[in-house]
């Protein structure tokens, strides 16, 4: 069923955290390339222009993977019982990510037709990159607290393996 597919049962562990590596790396990298492009030679063929192009592709690729990561994340979140702290954390995580997604999409739209020129990244683009990265970092931190603080997704698909180890160790089982 779709939910199990999105939750990564076929992979043996959640898919959402694997997918988010891409935007989580590329979007802040876009910000770095934005900054570098503005301090570099921005004539056509110059380092600055190359940075701007790289930044563009970082955002585009990041956003495409975001669109895949989102439904997987939703499938994971639906698994969390409403009384758990992680449920509320997940809601914030989702909200901040959606807001960030909108900002990055606008950012990409701003640059869309300017790609061929040797221009550096426009100020508005840089500002959106800063805001978008900020939102992303906060949302990602929440996500990491959900995993490493609350154990969301941990041992979800490896229950049987651990039960075997526990039984062999004489433990009372769940």
């Amino acid at each position: 069923m779709l939910k199990e597919l999105l939750q990564g049962k076929w992979l043996g562990h959640p898919v959402h955290p694997a997918l988010v590596h891409v935007p989580m790396g590329l979007l802040p990298a876009a910000l770095v390339f934005d900054i570098l492009s503005r301090v570099s030679d921005s004539s056509t063929g110059g380092a600055g222009a190359a940075m701007a192009v790289t930044s563009f592709y970082c955002i585009a690729a990041g956003l495409i993977v975001c669109l895949l990561a989102a439904p997987a994340g939703m499938a994971d979140w639906l698994q969390i019982k409403p009384n758990r702290p992680a449920h509320g954390m997940g809601l914030w995580h989702m909200g901040l990510n959606v807001l960030g997604l909108v900002l990055w999409a606008v950012n990409l739209g701003l640059r869309w037709n300017r790609l061929g020129e040797g221009a550096h990244v426009p100020v508005a683009g840089l500002v959106l990159s800063v805001l978008g990265t900020g939102l992303l970092v906060v949302a990602a931190y929440l996500g990491s607290r959900m995993v490493f603080g609350q154990g969301i997704g941990v041992a979800r698909f490896s229950k049987e393996k651990w039960k075997r180890i526990a039984a062999a160790g004489g433990a009372r089982l769940p």
Partner: protein, 328 residues
């Protein structure tokens, strides 16, 4: 807080390695994508972009490797996931070498209209190797719980399991484990007595022993944190009273098996056989010392014992054998 604690991201509440690793993963991937775009006629800017992303990816990889290694050194030598972690490290190093050579071969060639073939091939192989390694990283966290809840733990984690043969038991069935000083307050020990795996903690001077595996999803209690006389499982925060094994906070619903301990001349002894669910009442203690033939006196909570260890109620000569853990 030690350097290792900092590198492991304890102040952050999550492993630093995991936070940083996004950058090399994403950048290396993008580098290959840009190479492909370069082949498709994207022009020199794209080719240069591929070089820059490779370079930043390598910097990111170097930054990620250091905390990653700090994480690696925390994994118990006999942990089931130790081999996976070693593979993860080896594959990562391999992919980094491949990327570094790829970059070295093409560095400075900024006017190319398309990526040079051999470096591109190396990048692609590096990507595949990194993909496998990344998968293993996911297994380490989500299947094996590595690093989960570790930031709550102040004391170092057990480096190894103290393994004792059940044959070392004395006449009363107790086996010597370690000196009391080895288990300081807040620290845990992981002990295997003839196959029965337990966690030992010391709370208010008293040494308590209970099953190692959480009754929620079998998380490692020896890697948990001790607070207010309770052990907290690092995975999903179930909490149990260290003396009675009773679950005090979910999501676990089943009490832990507890094992009797004794301190003799500064040495901790435990008894793996005939575990009790609560502090032993006088009648129960007497029964454990005189295993009698066939008499069934079920106490609360032993029904599931019977399911897991059906041989528990058979007559035998020593309490250890009640567990039926003798190698076949």
């Amino acid at each position: 807080m030690s350097v290792r604690d900092l590198l492991q991201g304890k102040p952050l509440g999550m492993p630093l390695h995991v936070a940083i690793v996004h950058f090399p993963i994403a950048l290396f991937t993008l580098s290959v994508v840009l190479d492909v775009a370069g082949f498709a006629g994207g022009g020199s800017a794209v080719v240069r972009g591929a070089e820059y992303t490779l370079l930043f990816g390598l910097i990111g990889a170097a930054l990620a490797a250091v905390p990653g290694f700090a994480d690696y050194t925390s994994i118990r030598r006999d942990h089931p996931a130790r081999a996976t972690a070693t593979w993860h490290m080896a594959l990562n190093l391999t992919s980094v070498v491949l990327y570094a050579v790829s970059l070295g071969l093409r560095w400075g060639r900024f006017d190319e209209q398309r990526a040079p073939v051999w470096p591109f091939a190396l990048s692609v192989i590096g990507l595949v190797v990194m993909g496998v390694s990344g998968y293993l990283g996911g297994e380490l966290v989500y299947a094996d719980g590595i690093g989960v809840g570790r930031h709550r733990r102040r004391a170092p984690m057990p480096q190894r399991t103290i393994t004792v043969d059940a044959a070392a038991a004395d006449a009363t069935g107790f086996v010597p484990i370690a000196s009391v000083d080895a288990i300081s307050d807040g620290k845990t020990a992981r002990v295997d007595v003839g196959g029965t795996v337990m966690t030992l903690v010391r709370v208010n001077g008293e040494v308590c022993a209970f099953q190692e595996f959480c009754t929620h999803r079998c998380g490692p209690l020896s890697e948990g944190s001790v607070e207010d006389g309770q052990i907290r499982c690092p995975w999903h925060n179930s909490r149990f009273d260290v003396r009675s094994g009773k679950v005090t906070h979910g999501p676990a619903k089943v009490d832990l098996k507890v094992y009797e301990t004794q301190v003799r001349d500064g040495q901790v002894w435990v008894r793996a056989g005939a575990p009790s669910t609560t502090s032993p009442a006088p009648g129960v203690a007497a029964r454990e010392q005189r295993p009698s033939a066939g008499s069934e006196r079920p106490e609360a909570g032993t029904d599931d014992d019977a399911k897991v260890h059906p041989e528990r109620h058979l007559p035998s000569t020593s309490p250890i054998e009640l567990e039926g853990r003798r190698p076949e």
